[in-house]
Symmetry: C2
Subunit: 257 residues, 2 copies
DNA sequence: GTGAAAGCGCTAACAA
DNA sequence: TTGTTAGCGCTTTCAC
């Protein structure tokens, strides 16, 4: 059965030492071609598959990374981000462990515990919170962390970010260039720090185009849930920083013209 | 630094044998309470974190499972599915490795190779294709596989499925109950086997309600891409099994009334 | 209840 | 180029 054979079995079958098998499989160029062929042949016949754990233990690297992502998110954007990470890491010979962390709770424990245990070689943090372990900062760890989307550079974690303000302005600019004058800004959940920045970007675009900021109306996606219940239908939610529009009141439809 | 201490260090610090440390940490009830306290204390002071790989190697189980999912999917449905798997597996002490497989290519290799290598204890297959390894079926493997959404039971893989036809009929039934008579069926990409079944379910509902099947019009999400280019805007794509509507031609808007 | 010792399966010096 | 050997860090008999 597949996976039953050990390296020693292959060695025996090929009539070589176990270390030669190891080399033939990991560093083929260090082995005589004919020997190598015998070994590969034997391995194939035995349906030999190397044991990853043994290798990982011995080498001290797991070729596994972890993506710590928000627990309750099924957004396509996150999927795309994961796909991107996965693609690059796969190309580099790594696999990705998914860690959905609960925002509220002591997620850090959950994250860094297995991470430090040597299960993963590094962690991608897609979260507004910096993961912790037993009240110690990640800096006290050998574990490489990288922040994504959220800036943790002040915590000593290199972070890859999107310039939300710039690109929001850019997006709004496109609409304006198309001749649109009334812009609806649909924000995500109420706690999205990114939305505030993006909103500013949209206003930037309005300013730049010499259009009144009051032509931007805001609506939160979260409307359907919490706040919506307390508000008359058709009334848009406005963020604190959003200038109040004059009457007639803006609708909450996603029109952009 | 966190993670630098070994079990032997803890043993030395606590003045016990290494095996006692192991027990104290894995099977506390087998160790004298006072001894255990000393050990725990020492472990804490040394910021000891057990090495997962060593444990995995020794125990022969990795407490890791793999989810093999379609490569190009960022659908919220998939995220939800993953979240569900993750939640249950986490509760059971397992973590999830993400494997995005390319549909077309010999994905099976990619999946089962590391799987068989002892990296994971089991695999969730969310794919229309059964993963293979070196032209051998999964049955020749010790690795537990479970099919999700796609039925692989004929290949000997237990599968957890959604009764698409039933629930599509149910959904359509709700619309009908609300008084709607014109139903738009928005399908996914052209190759979705599920869509055909769901479409049948919608027609079931029409039949049951005594409504004409011609009141169901189909539009594919994929319109925007491949087929759409060759079709006049506003014209809906119709699946082969979908009865042709009478004029006026249905629009492709997602209206349901 | 605790310790000593034998590995899990593999890799990497070091020799030959 | 190939073989011998010593572990990686942990769990688990088997004694005491």
């Amino acid at each position: 059965m597949i996976g039953d054979a050990r390296m020693a079995d292959v060695a025996a079958a090929a009539g070589v030492a176990i270390s030669t098998v190891s080399r033939a499989l990991s560093n083929p160029e260090q082995v005589n071609e004919r020997t190598r062929e015998r070994i590969v042949q034997a391995a194939r016949e035995l349906s030999y598959v190397p044991n990853a754990m043994a290798r990982k233990l011995r080498r001290g690297a797991t070729e596994l990374t972890m993506a710590a992502v928000p627990h309750r998110s099924n957004s396509p954007a996150l999927s795309d981000l994961l796909a991107g990470i996965d693609e690059t890491m796969t190309a580099a010979g790594y696999r990705l462990i998914l860690e959905r962390m609960d925002r509220a709770d002591a997620a850090g424990r959950f994250i860094l515990d297995p991470a430090l245990s040597g299960t993963v070689d590094g962690v991608f943090v897609v979260s507004s919170k910096v993961p912790q372990f037993a009240h110690r900062s990640p800096e006290q760890t050998r574990l490489p962390l990288v922040g994504l989307l959220f800036d943790h550079s002040s915590a000593g974690i290199p972070s890859v970010l999107v310039d939300d303000r710039y690109w929001a302005a850019e997006a709004a600019g496109r609409l304006i260039a198309l001749g649109h004058r009334q812009i609806a800004f649909l924000a995500g959940a109420a706690d999205g720090a990114h939305d505030i920045v993006r909103h500013a970007g949209v206003l930037d675009a309005m300013d730049k185009a010499g259009l009144p900021r009051t032509s931007v109306s805001c609506a939160s996606k979260a409307m359907g849930r919490s706040r919506a219940a307390r508000r008359p239908p058709g009334a848009a939610w406005r963020c604190r920083k959003c200038p109040r529009p004059r009457s007639p009141a803006p609708t909450n439809s996603p029109s952009a013209s």
